[in-house]
């Protein structure tokens, strides 16, 4: 098997090219350093099975960030048959350094000058033959996003791959002193093969930035857009969720129930009230999640995320964090796990740990499902989006509190510079891939955590044999009773307690568990909950769900990224304590005020 590595600077469109080649979907984001896990795919290239590996976007092969180390280590440990250097053609005057550094290492490579469409619009002309000769690497222009030049690039890759020039390992150390040469060589090549207009500008980007980065308007506009997005996700998502719940409900009543009626009652209840109700309730929220990720994809790919780092940096600095931490918090709205991995671009350990401590407070899409469910059940349709937005605001309140408390422990004065890429709109293809990726991600989680979670909840609520399900005599009743001195001050009843316990595994299980505990799903479940608890309890429960111990995947990621047992323990204990304090205070104060 042959191996190809994709190397490029952040924002060069490396992930887009990887997606085009593999047909799979690595995450595409217009934000430096997002591709943190090494994604790979196997392709048939020129008759050989070839593994293609997408390495993290880096600025420099000799830099000191974690990502740069990852790339160096990868090149030293894994034999490479061909490197695909992806460079942004509009920034060729600086992005060529990476190609020159690879050349100095003696690696076989081709140079793919991406974003040819943008370069042409900006009036940049590149003589690829001349450039290729000077550099010593075959060079082509292409647009990975729209596909122009892609087939030429593909053929070039196949031809180069057949030359069999694999370099077993690379000794990087001795080539460390080359940077001076690289700079001279760079200027020489650019002068001979590239015609750069003296003053180029992405005029649309400049016009947009004049408004979006306005000293006074910038921040209010940003939060306004966020609010509109959540409002849209709720307004468009709630009816979709209703529809899917209706379909799954009818499937149960008309098909599954008659089909399974011959089974003994306990097994029937296990399959229908346990497995089916649990998973169906969680599954009905998939449209909301897809919708949410479509909006997130647009914001991430647009380049607006790095702008938010620019707008928020001064405020985040006062909290001991920085603009990048803010972007990671926003990324965490999707899922906390990639956001935690995204902190690898930070070199200061203090800053990185403090950011990792606050990321789990980010209201992730799994928690969003719980909140959409609870608010739909207990609040009027016009109140619901405001209630959900208030929980997003709570994310930032809790982050503020935590970072101010802990910033003394995690000191940092790391200098940083961040690219502000031009605004771009993702293609339909990228958005569809992203939606599909989320469905796949859900199916993956459903088969692993969610099924196991709801099955366990069913056992707890139906055992010992013969008890009234979820009654005080059942195991879940015992646990709820046992925990009640702790959680009843927060207005959280024994049923909700069981749901919270399983939410530790994955937050989606919370609603699946409620379906199993109450023995109904869909609309009936919402009505059932509305009869059991009032809005004060529901909001207290949502606050607890937002803040308490992050899910298992998040904890595992924190453990792996921080490589510290005490820090992992802190990330477990602190949110737990804070959740209790916040929920209890809210509940007691609301009750005291007479609600």
């Amino acid at each position: 098997m042959k191996r190809i590595a994709l190397i490029g600077m952040p924002n060069a469109g490396k992930s887009t090219l990887f997606n085009r080649m593999s047909g799979a979907s690595a995450k595409v984001a217009n934000w430096p350093g997002v591709t943190v896990d090494l994604m790979s795919a196997k392709l048939l290239l020129a008759g050989d099975i070839t593994e293609i590996v997408d390495l993290p976007g880096i600025y420099d092969l000799h830099g000191f960030s974690d990502d740069e180390q990852v790339v160096r280590h990868f090149l030293c440990k894994n034999p490479i048959d061909l490197v695909l250097i992806v460079a942004n053609a509009t920034q060729i005057d600086r992005q060529l350094t990476l190609a020159l550094q690879l050349k100095a290492l003696g690696l076989p490579a081709v140079l793919l000058l991406n974003m040819a469409d943008e370069a042409r619009k900006l009036g940049i002309t590149i003589d690829t033959d001349q450039l290729g000769n000077e550099l010593g690497y075959p060079t082509v222009l292409l647009s990975a996003k729209y596909g122009q030049g892609y087939s030429d690039a593909y053929h070039l890759i196949e031809t180069e791959l057949q030359k069999n020039r694999a370099v077993s390992t690379v000794t990087l150390e001795e080539n460390f002193a080359i940077d001076q040469d690289v700079e001279k060589k760079l200027e020489h090549i650019i002068e001979h093969s590239v015609d750069l207009p003296i003053q180029t500008s992405h005029s649309l980007t400049q016009k947009l930035d004049r408004v979006l980065l306005h000293p006074w308007l910038g921040l209010p506009l940003f939060f306004g857009f966020m609010y509109l997005m959540f409002e849209a996700v709720y307004t468009l998502g709630a009816p979709l969720q209703d529809g899917v719940a209706w379909i799954l409900d009818h499937l149960r009543e008309l098909v599954l129930a008659p089909l399974l009626s011959f089974l003994p009652p306990l097994l029937n209840s296990f399959l229908l009230n346990g497995v089916y109700d649990g998973i169906a309730t969680v599954a009905s929220f998939v449209p909301v999640i897809i919708l949410f990720f479509l909006f997130m994809a647009i914001i991430e790919d647009s380049g607006y995320l790095s702008r938010s780092a620019f707008l928020m940096d001064a405020l985040m600095t006062k909290m001991g964090l920085d603009g990048r931490s803010f972007v990671m918090l926003l990324m965490g709205f999707g899922c906390n796990v990639p956001a935690l991995m995204g902190t690898r671009t930070m070199r200061s350990r203090g800053l990185r740990l403090l950011t990792m401590l606050v990321i789990p407070f980010s209201l992730c899409s799994a928690r969003l499902q719980v909140f959409v469910f609870m608010t739909t059940a207990l609040f009027a349709p016009e109140q619901a989006p405001v209630v959900i937005f208030s929980l997003y605001v709570m994310t930032f309140v809790v982050v503020l509190l935590t970072s101010l408390l802990f910033k003394g422990q995690f000191n940092s004065n790391e200098p940083f510079a961040l690219e502000l890429p031009p605004y771009r709109f993702p293609t339909m293809r990228q958005m569809i891939l992203r939606g599909w990726y989320e469905v796949r991600h859900f199916l993956h989680r459903a088969t692993k955590f969610i099924t196991i979670g709801v099955v366990l909840v069913w056992f707890l609520t139906n055992m010992p044999y013969g008890v009234e399900p979820a009654s005080a005599a059942s195991w879940s009743g015992w646990i709820g009773e046992f925990m009640s001195p702790v959680l009843s001050p927060a207005g959280i009843n024994p049923e909700l307690t069981i749901a919270l316990i399983f939410g530790f595994v994955a937050k989606e299980i919370v609603i699946g568990a409620l379906a199993v505990i109450y023995g109904v799903e869909g609309v009936a479940l919402m009505q059932g909950i509305a009869q059991e608890i009032d809005w004060v309890q529901a909001y207290s429960f949502m606050l607890f769900t937002l803040i308490y111990t992050p899910c298992l995947s998040t904890i595992a990621t924190i453990r792996a990224e921080a490589k510290s047992a005490w820090f992992t323990a802190l990330s477990l204990i602190w949110p737990m304590a804070l959740a209790w304090v916040v929920s209890t205070s809210f509940y007691q104060i609301a009750r005291y005020l007479g609600y």
Partner: protein, 79 residues
């Protein structure tokens, strides 16, 4: 070249242009700045300053970056 023409990047005013003269930063950050286009002799322009006296928005050729004022203080430019 007149010595009075040299100042720190942090002293630049919005809309002003200058060329990079010297970078007084650690080698790790130097690599990053170089890769983003901060090289000796390169022209740059301060486009705007973020809210609450936040970071600079700087344009270098075809690249736009944000840079904190405290870090800009370590970069010398030639007016």
């Amino acid at each position: 070249m007149n010595l009075t023409d040299i100042q720190t990047l942090s002293a630049l005013k919005v809309g002003q242009s200058a060329t990079v003269h010297a970078l007084h930063v650690d080698s790790g950050f130097m690599y990053r700045l170089n890769a983003m286009g901060f090289r000796i002799g390169k022209p740059l322009e301060l486009i705007r300053i973020a809210p609450f006296n936040g970071p600079f928005h700087i344009k270098l050729g075809n690249t736009e970056v944000m840079l904190r004022q405290q870090d800009a203080a370590n970069i010398e430019v030639l007016m």
